[in-house]
């Protein structure tokens, strides 16, 4: 043991003792004034860890030392409670000191501070139970101007990760930090370090016969985060370190956790047989197995201890009828493999996504598991946790997590899930505005056809929200644009689960639609299909790319059926507004009393590069003009020759012997 008393936690759930001997005390400047306007000044953020290869002999220790100054009452309410999170299943919290420094006088309250242990289960909302515990330290008599200096060590590590260590340290925060230090002490020579976001390297030295890596940063400025940015473009920086030499090594680590077929019991085999009997083809078998795992296995993540990363046996999952992403993936993989279909669990990061590539190889980057299926020369990424999926293998909705580590696959490297960005959804909207007369209300009929992910979203909405509420919400939404609007008939829908299409039909009545002048009639056109589809970023003057979401397509046809033929001055030339991020085309037409506006939006990239922001915003402003405009037409009396033509036609009817009509 290196410095920490080898003791069991008390009833309190933590220990109060001295810092381990290997810890190097970092100094800080208590007199340094803060130029920041936030409520708390961070004088020191020091993180150190001691990791040896023989973990049984010496458990890993993670030491933290924070010094903050309360600058105002906002800081008082923000920072006077201290939070320390650990997992009691395999970790112990050692509190070393909690000093309150006021006017140069120090009092250490570590022994007497009130600590509330809270099982926060922050992911409970998503049915994940990770067993993490948070110690909330509530020191008394904290005032504005006080310095709070506290340190603690967390001992122990999730045993599932074995002998290879890995981790990362933040190199900047959302607030300024006066001094930021990191240190790793280890007997291992396998460590690699990689700074992400900033070019920095730790220094290496010897310390008590061990390797010591350390880095100190002074006056670290706050990160100005634009928001709405993919993680691969975040302006936050960190230092990654890992003992894993490659992604293959991580893959080998994962492979021994995911041997499903060998653990498939009779129940799993019986299920495979039943699915086989129901299926009309292998492709059908795949989707049946997927839908079984998605819909018949309830999602519950009991990610306690080793089960944070080791899946449960497929038979157990089937028997209990619940499981988390890895449990579901292994069950699905096993069912497919029992049918002779090539399938593998695939580790992905739902947060880092494309940013995974920036990190050093380690298991720590992954937080989700999907299933890769290679079938008929194509690759399919299936997610057992996803609900409301439908359709055939080729028209399922998709999720692009960027990169995946496919466990046990012949390609042991990180694999790009989709070579080109997939089109996640297609929405086709047809709107017909029907008018009997210019002095009558019009009827707006809308048919919206959702494909891919959009169909799944709509299926989710219609299965979880009462139809009346949806109808009211839709009407509320349209009423923001069309005044005097009311629903004319019930909202109806068709769920085409075979083709993964969801069709919604709406009919509304709009009063006072027309504005009439002498011989002119005006009306407003709103291309509502797009208004929610492509939005400007909250921060326009950006330093990081703007995240648009996966490529998607919206096609829209709006037809305005005038009560009679009208004179309309239209430029029927097709217009194309293009930008590296999207392409929007539209064209106006008029024929036989019907004005037709046909348009299409293709979102081509998931991010708008900083250099493209100006043209993106200009193009966006330009296309907004096409999403809301006024049509002005001439009616009857103003159309040259119309009266004469009507008279002639009436006469021709008589000459043709057709007096009756």
């Amino acid at each position: 043991m290196v410095g920490l008393a080898q003791m069991e936690p008390t009833e309190k759930g933590y220990l109060v003792d001295r810092a381990p001997a290997w810890v190097t005390e970092q100094s800080y400047d208590a007199n340094k004034t803060s130029s920041a306007s936030q409520g708390t000044q961070y004088l020191l953020v020091d993180q150190q860890q001691h990791v040896l290869q023989d973990q049984k002999l010496v458990p890993p220790q993670y030491h933290y030392h924070f010094v903050i100054r309360i600058l105002n009452s906002a800081g008082l309410s923000q920072s006077s409670q201290l939070h320390i999170t650990f997992n009691p299943a395999y970790q112990t919290l050692h509190l070393h000191s909690l000093k309150i420094i006021r006017n140069g006088e120090t009092r250490d309250v570590a022994d007497q501070v009130y600590v509330r242990m809270v099982q926060q289960e922050q992911q409970l909302a998503s049915d994940i139970h990770d067993g993490l515990l948070t110690a909330v330290l509530i020191p008394e008599d904290i005032r504005v101007g006080d310095i709070i200096d506290y340190s603690y060590t967390i001992e122990g590590r999730n045993p599932i990760f074995g002998t290879h260590h890995f981790g990362n340290y933040s190199l900047n925060w959302a607030v300024p930090v006066d001094k930021m230090a990191m240190r790793v002490v280890t007997d291992s020579s396998r460590f690699s370090f990689r700074s992400v976001g900033i070019e920095l390297k730790p220094t290496m030295a010897r310390f008590g016969g061990l390797n010591e890596y350390k880095l100190v940063r002074m006056d670290v400025p706050a990160v100005i985060d634009d928001g709405e940015t993919s993680l691969e473009y975040t302006r936050y920086a960190w230092m990654d370190f890992s003992e894993y030499p490659s992604w293959q090594a991580v893959n080998r680590w994962a492979a021994h956790l995911y041997d499903g077929v060998s653990t498939a019991n009779d129940d799993v085999k019986a299920l495979a047989l039943k699915l086989r009997q129901q299926a009309t083809s292998e492709q059908d078998y795949i989707t049946r197995a997927l839908f079984f795992v998605q819909n018949e296995i309830r999602y519950v993540g009991l990610e306690l201890g080793v089960n944070s990363h080791r899946p449960r046996a497929p038979g157990e999952v089937l028997q209990k009828r619940y499981g988390d992403c890895k449990d579901k993936s292994l069950l699905l993989t096993t069912l497919l493999q029992l049918q002779g279909i090539d399938a593998w669990p695939a580790l992905v990061s739902s947060v880092a996504r494309y940013s995974v590539m920036r990190n050093l190889p380690s298991p720590g980057v992954f937080d989700h598991v999907v299933t890769l299926v290679e079938f008929n020369g194509k690759r399919y990424w299936l997610d057992g946790t996803r609900l409301y999926q439908a359709g055939r293998l080729d028209n399922l909705g998709i999720a692009d997590f960027g990169y995946a580590l496919v466990v046990g696959h012949r390609n042991q490297e990180l694999q790009r899930m989709y070579e080109t960005l997939p089109i996640a959804s297609l929405v086709e909207v047809e709107e017909d505005i029907l008018a009997d007369a210019f002095n009558q209300p019009v009827t707006l009929k809308i048919k919206s056809v959702y494909h891919g992910n959009a169909a799944e979203m709509r299926r989710y909405q219609f299965q979880t929200v009462p139809l009346d509420n949806i109808k009211r919400n839709y009407l509320e939404y349209f009423s923001r644009y069309y005044k005097n609007m009311s629903a004319e008939s019930a909202l109806t829908y068709e769920d085409d689960t075979e083709r993964n299409r969801f069709v919604v039909y709406e009919t509304y009545r709009i009063d006072d639609y027309w504005k009439r002048g002498n011989a002119l009639v005006q009306n407003k056109i709103f291309n509502l299909s797009y208004i929610e589809a492509l939005k400007a970023p909250t921060v326009r003057q950006r330093q990081s790319p703007y995240y648009l979401g996966l490529p998607r397509r919206v096609n829209s046809v709006l037809r305005l059926h005038y009560p009679e033929s009208v004179t309309i001055n239209l430029d029927e030339t097709p217009v194309s507004i293009e930008n590296p991020a999207f392409k929007y085309t539209y064209q106006d037409r008029y024929a036989d009393g019907v004005y037709t506006h046909r348009s299409s939006l293709n979102v081509l990239q998931k991010d708008v590069a900083v250099n493209d922001m100006d043209s993106f915003l200009r193009a966006l402003d330009q296309i907004h003009n096409d999403w809301e405009y006024t049509l002005t037409v001439g009616v009857a009396a103003s159309v040259p020759g119309r009266q004469e033509l009507q008279t002639l036609k009436a006469r021709l009817k008589k000459l043709a012997g057709k007096n009756h009509d």
């Binding site: 033929s565 009208v566 004179t567 309309i568 239209l570 097709p574 085309t585 064209q587 037409r589 008029y590 024929a591 036989d592 009393g593 019907v594 037709t596 046909r598 001439g634 159309v639 040259p640 020759g641 119309r642 004469e644 033509l645 008279t647 002639l648 036609k649 006469r651 021709l652 009817k653 000459l655 043709a656 012997g657 057709k658």
Partner: protein, 408 residues
């Protein structure tokens, strides 16, 4: 042989010559200036189809290129690979090596490009309608009615390197797809060339030297557009070729330039050989009318309308046939139908004007004049009707005098 071979051609319609004669007399009163596009233009286009935007736009451009005789612009939209591939496959003989075939094909490509506008580009062309069909777009164009008759051509457009390109087309009157016509023609040429050197393995491959001579003489006559030679050469053609509509159509095409009975003779020949095939109905209308076989003419036009969709030109032709039979009410009914299909088709009104004048419906004739002046902005006045004898009585009518006074 291929150097000047241009089997494109406008077909003519004797019926149209009849009708055009009427129209021309009326058109003689038209002011020279082209009327500005009426504001009513947007009122009654053909029924809108679900149009593919890129296809529809290219289709309109083709109509414009043809109307403006813009050969360069039209050629820019041509992708002849499909057609040339057909020709190339037809030339797959031992006689011509690859280089010779390439050369032949290159000459043909040049010919097509140089002759396309010349053959189709003499009138105003309108886009009748277009149909998206998967990755294709079928673009139906029609010429305006003129003294050269009327043509209907359906262009087959495909997306090539991000642009809609013409890859093939069908002359709907002749029921002739260009790629197929070339394949057949060049296949026969290759066979005939080859037959002189390659031993026949089947009896139908036995060609006499005279057959070959007759065949090439026919092609030369077509090339030279020498109609009398074409007839003689056609008569001498082997049965092998006479059983194909292609050669009879080439004769009709060559004869259409002549009003001396050759055209009727060519049509008669065509009818005798291929008249049983219903789809040639529109081609034979001139013959039907000439021989007063009105029911067949009407049937042919209606079948054609089923094929190309509503079009005022077809209604005008039906009106004329009804008038030929003395069916006045039906004449007006078809004119009304033509107006309903497209009120902006000005020829309908000129035709109506003459007939109303002939029928002494002077008040109604003035209604037509009002439409022509108000809808089409024709600057008509009394003097436009002075030269033509047929308006003499009309000019004296109370209705006309009131109209002329009003216009003065």
């Amino acid at each position: 042989m291929t150097n000047d071979l241009s089997p494109f051609g406008r077909r003519w319609s004797g019926l149209l010559i009849l009708s055009i004669a009427m129209l021309l007399s009326a058109c003689a009163t038209q002011p020279d200036s082209t009327p500005p596009l009426s504001a009513v233009t947007a009122m009654a286009q053909p029924p809108s189809q679900r149009e593919d935007d890129a296809g529809a736009n290219t289709c309109r451009e083709i109509a414009r290129d043809l109307s403006h005789h813009d050969s360069a612009a039209l050629n820019g939209k041509l992708d002849l690979r499909l057609i040339l591939q057909q020709v190339f496959s037809a030339l797959d003989s031992q006689l011509l090596d690859a280089t010779q075939r390439q050369k032949l094909v290159a000459q043909l490509e040049e010919q097509i490009k140089s002759k396309l506008v010349e053959n189709y580009g003499e009138d105003n062309w309108d886009m009748l309608r277009g149909y998206a069909d998967g990755d294709r777009y079928l673009c139906l164009l029609r010429t305006d009615m003129s003294n050269q008759g009327v043509s209907y051509v359906e262009f087959d457009l495909r997306m090539v390197d991000g642009r809609m390109q013409i890859v093939d087309w069908i002359d709907l009157v002749q029921e002739q797809r260009v790629s197929e016509m070339f394949r057949e023609l060049f296949g026969d040429i290759a066979t005939m060339l080859e037959s002189s050197t390659k031993p026949a393995t089947h009896y139908w491959e036995l060609f006499t030297p005279q057959e070959r001579l007759d065949f090439f003489e026919f092609l030369k006559a077509v090339r030279d557009q020498d109609s009398s030679r074409i007839f003689t050469a056609y008569d001498r053609l082997s049965w092998r070729f006479k059983q194909k509509p292609l050669y009879a159509l080439l004769v009709v095409k060559a004869a259409s330039a002549h009003g001396d009975g050759l055209y009727q003779k060519a049509l008669k020949n065509f009818e005798q050989r291929f008249g049983g095939e219903d789809h040639y109905g529109i081609l034979l209308i001139d013959l039907y009318v000439e021989e007063r076989r009105y029911e067949q003419a009407i049937l042919g036009l209606k079948r054609f309308r089923d094929k190309v969709g509503a079009d005022p030109v077809i209604d005008i032709l039906l009106a004329i046939i009804e008038r030929e039979q003395g069916h006045s009410a039906s004449f007006y009914e078809h004119c009304l139908q033509a107006i309903n299909v497209n009120p902006n088709y000005v020829q309908t009104y000129w035709l109506l004007l003459d007939q109303l004048v002939a029928d002494r419906h002077y008040d109604d004739a003035v209604l037509v004049l009002n439409v022509l002046t108000s809808m089409f902005n024709f600057a008509l006045s009394e003097h436009h009707f002075e030269a033509d004898e047929k308006y003499q009585a009309f000019r004296k009518s109370e209705a006309f005098r009131a109209w002329a006074l009003d216009r003065a």
